[in-house]
């Protein structure tokens, strides 16, 4: 088999341009391997050659992703690679997202395999695991060579069209692909074996792993209610007429912030509801059935709460991905905290 032409992608740090001060640097290409791309070259053995390394600052990609990916893709294409290796990004979030985005773009544009590696908690994993083969790495670069070897081994298998084993066997994150396989024992036998292992306190692996929802510590509102600023947030699809922020009816990636300053309640004629996961007839008739601005305002005036926050936040919680939910929640929480809000009531349908 002829030697595979490999292009590597690295951020400014691993690409040896510099630290955060160089994070704004745009894409550039150097001939041959740089930094971790040398480990890629080594792992390839005789099977291939790193013909070029593309490097780019993390902020440059994060701040204008579409443009940055298009520019990097052009550099990659010019090298006529048979395989692209991005990262590994370990636990670096911006870098991980950039690796995932570039791999997805390369696959779509060139129809060649593109592989990367990340730590399980890198946000790039949830965003790109379905499109891109992402090898599970450690959090830091301590075992770079070992991680790179796994990435390269997977990449070469893809190049050669060799059949891949299950994610746990090959060391990549499950892509949500279901494949028929013939197993030795039927489902009943496997279930009983699993149960007996569990009863015996022995390790066993479920065949249907559930998503892992991290436990979030629960701070308690320490101020008295009469001294606290309370905000209202909803995932029930509440929007002003015309849906100015274009919040999606399902699978939301956006949320809106709407002023209720000085309002004693919500005038139904000024609002709409775009949620496509429940019958919104009744909350359109009276938005208070979703967002209790009327009683919260009364309680503010009566002194039962210190202040009702002037802005309500809204999105649609239906078929919304965990990754987007977590991001929107984080962004909303940051804005609420900056505004001095003490606690939130989130109404959900």
């Amino acid at each position: 088999m002829e030697s595979v032409r490999v292009v590597c992608y690295l951020n400014q740090f691993f690409g040896q341009l510099g630290g955060e001060d160089k994070a704004g640097v745009g894409p550039q290409i150097v001939k041959g391997p740089v930094g971790p791309a040398r480990a890629v070259e080594q792992a390839l053995g005789g099977a291939g050659t790193v013909v070029a390394t593309v490097r780019c600052g993390d902020n440059y990609v994060a701040e204008q992703t579409e443009r940055a990916i298009a520019e990097m893709l052009a550099l990659v294409v010019a090298e006529r690679p048979g395989l692209v290796v991005a990262g590994p990004a370990f636990l670096a979030g911006r870098y991980g997202i950039a690796c995932g985005a570039l791999c997805a773009a390369v696959q779509a544009a060139l129809g060649i395999p593109a592989v990367t590696g990340m730590h399980v908690e890198n946000p790039g994993v949830d965003l790109y695991r379905r499109q891109v083969y992402i090898v599970q790495t450690g959090a830091e670069a301590a075992r770079m060579l070992e991680d790179v070897q796994k990435i390269v081994a997977l990449g070469l298998k893809l190049v050669r069209g060799e059949p891949l084993g299950a994610p746990a066997v090959e060391g990549y994150f499950a892509r949500g692909v279901t494949r028929h396989t013939v197993v030795e024992h039927n489902a009943a036998e496997r279930a009983v074996a699993m149960l007996t292992a569990k009863l015996a306190g022995q390790p066993f692996a479920s065949e249907v792993p559930l998503p892992d929802f991290p436990r979030i510590p629960a701070p308690r509102l320490l101020k008295t209610l009469a001294g606290a600023t309370i905000a209202l947030v909803t995932d029930g699809g509440f929007v002003p007429q015309g849906n100015p922020d274009g919040i999606e009816p399902l699978n939301a990636t956006r949320y809106g912030a709407y002023s209720i300053e000085g309002k004693s309640g919500l005038d139904a004629s000024q609002y709409d509801n775009v949620h496509r996961g429940y019958d919104t007839t009744y909350v359109k008739q009276d938005p208070h059935r979703l967002l209790p601005v009327d009683v919260a305002r009364e309680m503010e005036q009566q002194g039962a709460i210190g202040k009702l926050h002037d802005t309500v936040y809204s999105t649609t919680g239906v078929a919304t991905t965990l990754a987007h939910s977590a991001r929107m929640g984080r962004e909303i929480a940051e804005q609420l905290r900056a505004a001095g809000v003490d606690a939130v009531i989130l109404t959900s349908t």
């Binding site: 209610l225 309370i230 909350v283 059935r289 979703l290 919260a296 109404t347 959900s348």
Partner: protein
Amino acid sequence: MTPVAVMVGANRIVAAAGIIHPLGNTELSAEDEKALRRRIVERALQALRTEVAQPTVFGGE
């Protein structure tokens, strides 16, 4: 939907009045409906002041 909220790890959960109108009930008079809404909001506010160590459901309508 409170079992879902518990499963995903929401810490303080108040059982409200239903999926299609969590803070209302179309079978009540406007006045009673608003009173219902106020009870749910008050329960939520009390929940915020309550120490919890794990996902906890507070009351229901």
